[in-house]
Amino acid sequence: MPMFYWFGRQTLQLIFGIGDYSLFTAKAFCALAKSRRLVRRIVSAVHEQGTVCLPVILIVGVFTGLVLGLQGYHVLSRFGSQGLLGTLVSLSLVREMGPVLAALMLIGQAGSALAAELGIQRNTEQIVALETMGVNSHGYLVVPRLLASLLVFPLQTAVFVVVGFWGGSLSGSLLLGVDSGVYWSAVQRAVEVQDMKECFIKAAAFGILSISICAYQGFHSDRNASAMGARAVSVSTTRAVVFSSILVLVADYIISSFFV
């Protein structure tokens, strides 16, 4: 019997959580109209998510390309189709690896920072203080981040993919000896407009999804019944990263299924 109670409670909590999160995101979009001096806030949010995270994107992008080139070469060479290496690397990067890995890296660096920052601002009454000043706290803290994510995630993904192409050519043609002309022409032939669309739709969707989840967790870090104070910030940061990473992968599957 206790199992039923547990299951019921978990289900209700999940439904409540989803509803609360949706309400939060809806509020943020409604606050869009009320935001003032938004451009400056967006610029600093682009800095947080973009410039700060660029080195990680570059490094992870190069190594993803390198590994794809290496593994792909060894599999393809069994069938004597090394000529398809460019196809393999470019399609994996554009369709899946680029948007997903870039989003995961950005969650790890920018998303966790956002959740922790908002959590501490909630803890030290900074968010309530905004409200008492008559400032729309969603509009001031959340809206610029969400808008920036719509811009930054596709840009980061594009950088990731391009760097990944180079990584693939580095390991595939420089180290393993696939002709670089063959590699690049395969890349050109493989990627189509449809793939690019998929890539950028995914990137933008992952951006909104992960940044809104991270912002929600941080913004409402005081709603955790299980932890208070500094502990609540750490719990909500962990949740922000875990939930948004999982949901990015779930969303990836759903979006991919529309495109196949």
Binding site: R37, Q121, T124, V128, A129, T132, M133, G134, V135, N136
Partner: protein
């Protein structure tokens, strides 16, 4: 229809608030005269902070009416809420300064985000507020680089920059030594006269409050059990008032009793 007499900046009628069925405020009645310094005294846990947060529209009361400048504040109506917040500032016990912004940016923030003024005008008014609180040398400092007293001054500068009619102070002297407590009350009194706002202070520092305020009230166990001038407070024989006011004497008596029983 009852009409508020115009001399009250803030009137509270039958305010009730309970948390999880446990009553914190029960039927609080209060009138804050316009342009005065009004202090609500009370022991810790008497519901002072909750009372103030109800007034600032941070916590929604269960029942009761709050009249600001003669018109009733309602929680649901966003327009009236924004109007109230434009005319009222709240000074948090923890200051609630934005730690990622400099002193100047902290002061400029309420203007930037709520008022339609040119950037130069915002800069001018923010610098002016900082200058009046003798903070002009710390314009580029972050809150964490400032001492406790300076943070309090910065928070006050942020509160007055919007030229409010009412400022709510939540325990402005909590955790400060007697000299600093004096300094904070002096600061409040000085700027209250200079800017002419109405100040509502919640504190448990009796002697300073009695000297600095125009009127005092005592909040105990969720209800107002005394309201009057500081002189009336000092002369009152009300048991809770005298217990609270003469706490040092009570301590002396109980210590004496302990010493006697030790012998």
């Amino acid at each position: 229809m009852e009409k508020t007499s115009p001399k009250f900046a803030l009137q509270v009628k039958g305010l009730n608030k309970a948390f999880n069925g446990k009553p914190v405020l029960t039927g609080v009645e209060l009138g804050v005269p316009l342009g005065s310094i009004f202090t609500v005294l009370g022991p810790s846990g008497a519901g002072k902070s909750v009372f103030l947060k109800c007034l600032a529209n941070i916590i929604q009361p269960d029942a009761g009416r709050i009249l600001f400048d003669g018109s009733e504040l309602t929680f649901g109506d966003r327009a009236s809420q924004l109007e109230f917040r434009r005319r009222c500032s709240f000074l948090f016990q923890s200051n609630a300064l934005f730690d990622s912004l400099t002193a100047l940016e902290n002061v400029a923030l309420p203007l930037e985000q709520t008022a339609d003024i040119a950037n130069e005008e915002i800069q001018r008014r923010s610098l002016e507020a900082l200058r009046q609180l003798e903070m002009e040398d710390y314009v580029g400092h972050y809150p964490a680089q400032l001492s406790g007293g300076m943070q309090k001054r910065l928070a006050l500068a942020r509160a007055i920059v919007t030229q409010p009619e009412l400022v709510l102070f939540d325990e402005p002297t909590a955790g400060l030594d007697p000299l600093r407590r004096n300094a904070v009350f002096e600061m409040i009194a000085k700027y209250q006269r200079q800017f002419g706002f109405t100040a509502l202070i919640v504190t448990h520092d009796v002697p300073e409050a009695l000297v600095a305020s125009d009127r005092v009230a005592l909040l105990n166990q969720g209800r107002i059990c005394f309201e009057g001038t500081p002189a009336e407070f000092s002369a009152s024989n009300h048991s809770v008032v005298s217990d609270f006011r003469d706490s040092a004497a009570a301590l002396q008596r109980s210590l004496a009793a302990i010493r006697i029983s030790d012998r």
